[in-house]
């Protein structure tokens, strides 16, 4: 038997605040970006010309734009994979600690409070080829480090800075996930003679998969959008184009270069890429998740 409510307007009234927020803060700006993408105008907004798809065509003909897509994929994969795996290891270990658990957990959560730009600068200084302690140590070990010249080094640096910040977030969710797993299941497996590794892969990991899937989506969105501060404060996309991720290019062309049409076209493409990726994740990866 279904319960029905006679009111027609009340439900709308109740969801109105939420709808309004979505409308004003999400749909309206997104709509403006889509509109802007079809125009070319000067910075001051004194003249405006409808150019149809020209902004998009220009982008799609630019080999450097594809390069930026490639850089973004490498960067976001590296951030998501290393962020998730390191956090999982840390969470499993923190979960096993009996004494001083709170201290470990608190310390591991701290980096999350650091602003992205600050995290970037912090690592930037640590790795500075002339003065940074880590760079000097690497030099001592015979490893050459120069993120000003070497694109690979620069990429490693921004991945470390971006991941370091995100580990805390992942850690929190993994730890909560781990603590939600009934002890009796693990104990039963232990009685049956399963070692810690076997217990982890056969029981803990599958039960953790909803959390892991959620974090994968969140981490990729993070790497795509929120790492802008890290890049801006450190490499500014260089050397060459080796760390120029899509969202940084949007900022650079739009806010620094004041090319509003081109920048808007990029954000529309970026919206589509992320939308597509989320669909793919839900359709293909979510099937493997056990709730």
């Amino acid at each position: 038997m279904t319960v029905t409510f006679p009111h027609k307007t009340l439900p709308w009234l109740l969801i109105a605040p939420q709808l309004l927020v979505t409308l004003i803060f999400f749909l309206w700006p997104a709509g403006q970006a889509i509109e802007q993408a079809f125009y070319q105008e000067d910075a001051f907004g004194l003249s405006r010309e409808f150019v149809a798809l020209e902004n998009f065509i220009e982008l799609l003909q630019d080999p450097y734009y594809y390069n930026s897509i490639g850089v973004t994929l490498v960067f976001s994969m590296a951030v998501a994979v290393s962020g998730l795996s390191i956090a999982l290891v840390l969470a499993t270990m923190a979960d096993r600690i009996i004494r001083g658990q709170m201290v470990y957990q608190t310390l591991l959560i701290w980096p999350y409070a650091v602003a992205p730009a600050l995290a970037g600068v912090l690592w930037w200084i640590l790795f500075d080829p002339a003065q940074g302690p880590i760079a000097l140590w690497l030099e001592y070990m015979g490893i050459e480090w120069d993120h000003f010249v070497n694109g690979g080094d620069a990429m490693i640096l921004v991945v470390i800075a971006a991941t370091w910040k995100q580990i805390s977030y992942n850690f929190l969710f993994f730890l909560a996930g781990l603590q939600a797993i009934p002890r009796s299941l693990i104990e039963a497996a232990a009685i049956d003679g399963a070692g810690p590794v076997r217990r982890f892969w056969d029981i803990v990991f599958p039960l953790l998969s909803p959390t892991a899937f959620f974090l994968l989506v969140m981490n990729i969105v993070y790497a795509f959008f929120e790492t802008f501060g890290v890049i801006d404060a450190t490499t500014a996309g260089g050397p060459g184009q080796s760390t120029k991720i899509l969202v940084y290019k949007v900022y650079e062309d739009g806010f620094v270069g004041l090319d509003l049409g081109g920048s808007a076209a990029q954000s529309v493409i970026l919206m589509m890429i992320v939308g597509l990726m989320t669909v793919v994740q839900f359709r293909f990866i979510e099937r493997k998740v056990q709730y």
Binding site: Q40, E41, D42, A43, F44, G45, L46, S47, E49, Y64, D128, P129, A130, Q131, F148, V149, N150, G151, A236, G237, G238, P239, G240, Q241, E252, D253, F255, V256, G257, L258, D259, G262
Partner: protein, 432 residues
Amino acid sequence: MQKRKLSALILGASIASSGFAATEIEWWHAMGGALGEKVNLIVADYNASQDAFKVKATYKGNYSETMTSAIAAFRAKQQPELVQVFEVGTASMMAAEGAIYPVHKLMRDSGQSFDGSKYLSAVTGYYTDNDGNMLSMPFNSSTPVLYYNKSMLAKAGVTPPKTWEEMQSVGEKLLASGAKCGFTTAWQSWVHLENMSSRHNQPFATQANGFGGMDTRLAFNSPLQVKHVSKMGEWQQNGIFSYSGRRNDGAAKFYSQDCAMYTESSAGYAGIKKNAKFDFGVVELPYWAGEVKQPSNTIIGGASLWVLKGHKSEEYKGVASFLNYLSSADVQADWHQFSGYLPITTAAYNLTKGEGFYAKNLGTEIAVQQMTTGTPTENTKGLRLGNFIQIRGLIDEALESVWNGDADAQSALDNAVERGNLMLSKFEKANK
């Protein structure tokens, strides 16, 4: 009854005070730290010097943030009267004829005495139109020079290089004496392409470096620039040059005494003086003796003050009076000596000289001398390129590909010219 009387009194008082209140003028700037404090002092002095106008200075972040917020404010009709814009934004500001109030016109309209010839032409040239009218008021201008570590050069038994030819042997001797690198640089595009071109009186772009019209196209892939960049690429490999970032991160290698020399803005003087724990000297930016007999003047970097349209004429009177105050010899000389930025008037230069400042602070005059060598030509007056911020970005990318050996100088510069020209034609189209 009592209450009503009181409120009438308050109302009356507030009307009276607003009637007598000084006209407020907003100035958005990008001077942080010590420079920002100095700006506040200058503004406070101006406000105390008269009571008709009150300037309110607000720090809006770095150069591009300040420019972007002023433009955003203009679109929302909330613009300040006065905004500081860096030199690469000049073409964008100029093209926005409906938004800017040219300084020469402002001065005439508000009856301020204004004589363009009192200003150093090498500084104002960057900001004048083709008829020589000043469009914005130069505020902080600098030019690149070569800083060197005295003891490291002495150890290697060399004197600072006057020419890039000498840099080769000086660099080799420095490396032989145990130095980790010969020299490093800040702002590579500005120093090693833009100023490299003007120092040899060669065009950076067609149409008189963009002063002649918006149909300008880039020209920095000529033999001179290719030669310089390819030599720098070679030096990067053997250690004579060591690249250290697009901004002024190179300072770290100079301070740590890894690099013996550093090409950086003359305005970097105060910072170097504060941070270098060794004796340092300043010489003019080297040139290729094989290319020119006599080097030409270098061009400036830094920023100027633009007046935005859309305010009352009373407020513009205040802006004019404030700009006049800023360019007075005392204020200019003080700002120049404090910051290391160039003086913008001959009077301020002479005043500084008369006070014996250059004799006491060796090296501070180098930039002024280098700036005022000869009369600026169309290749050395400055650069006026649309979308220049992005063009600099892609020049950075091209140069970095030479430093790390991914590309040779010719193809990297050709590529940057080609990509930059797309930016220029886009700007031309958006502003026609």
